[in-house]
Amino acid sequence: MTTAMFGGVSIGLGAGLLFLLEGRIAGVSGILARGLDPTDDARAWRLLFVAGLVAGGAIVAMLVPGALPGAPGVSTPRLVAAGALVGVGSGIANGCTSGHGLCGVARGSTRSIAAVATFMAAGMLTVLAVGVAR
């Protein structure tokens, strides 16, 4: 649990410094979507943030075996369906676990708190349903 909390400190610093230094919100889904939008004139920093995410993971994976186990052993159709739901859902809601969950809640945004409560409830119900089906 202590190790996990150090990870939390690092996540908080990453998001907090981006806002304090550049005034930008570390919402991963929005950063990815707008980083790929050719009409957006501030794409470069977004793509660099995404590259940083992968690099951060690679550094830890080299030091701590098993830190990045990859996707769970479920069928490819289920993975792709889940990926599409995550993409479409965070696109419609304008944010995901990072943008709403980490940054929005830290700013006390009502929209974000409502989004977090909704996706946590939906996630819990899904895990429950999958468990019951199995």
Partner: protein, 271 residues
Amino acid sequence: MSQRTSLVAAGSGVLFGAGLAVSGLTRPEMVQGFLDVTGRWDPTLGVVMAVAAAINAALVAVAMRRRRPLCAETLSLPATGRVDRRLLAGAAVFGVGWGLVGICPGPALTSLASGDPSVLAFVAAMTAGLVLTRVVATRARDGRRTNHKESAMLARFFVFAVTILLPGVAQAVTLATPLLQGDTALTCAVTNVGTQEASLASVEMFGATGMAVLADDYCGATLGPRQSCQLVEGGTRPLGFCQVTGSGKLRLTIIGYDAAGPMAALPGTAK
């Protein structure tokens, strides 16, 4: 865009990604464990998010008090609006996908470094979903008759996938190959340290302190998440101890493995 912005964005991404990997949020079973409130609930994700949000909130408070960031002109805050149906519907759809496999956008991108092709499949579907939603939203805002924006955006998506993701993933696969390819496949007795229940399993070893993946034919009933077990090759040679860190196709993280001889004891347990 200034060089400083590039540096801050990349550095912030590295801190964020490394934090996700260190805290275990890149392990789908931990995420699903947190969402599994009626079963074997794992509070770790909540604790990590609380710590991260507290630190983020402290830095955000400083920025809000100054009314402008240290290195840029303005704070880019999202337009505040009311809680509407669109927000709640999107969050609900997101939550279902999140619960189905235990991966959300941040950990998905970070996990690209694992070189697991399944992660790439998830990220491709997720990116397609994000781009599609954005295209539809742009079209709705700008009217039916849209320009070359959309096609350019989609082209960009494919160029991005091919030129940035694939070589990066290939590189990560090369780096991580010793971890990703089991060097030996063994038939082992897996004994639950707690209950002493044993079961036969095919185990793929991933180096001395790496991972072992139990074959599908393993009867998972005797081992649940976070339970410790002992691996004994062919029923005779103790290979070491491990902890179950996954479900479905069970993944074991070996926390002690000595190729030369039997391990003395599982760290943290009595002999």
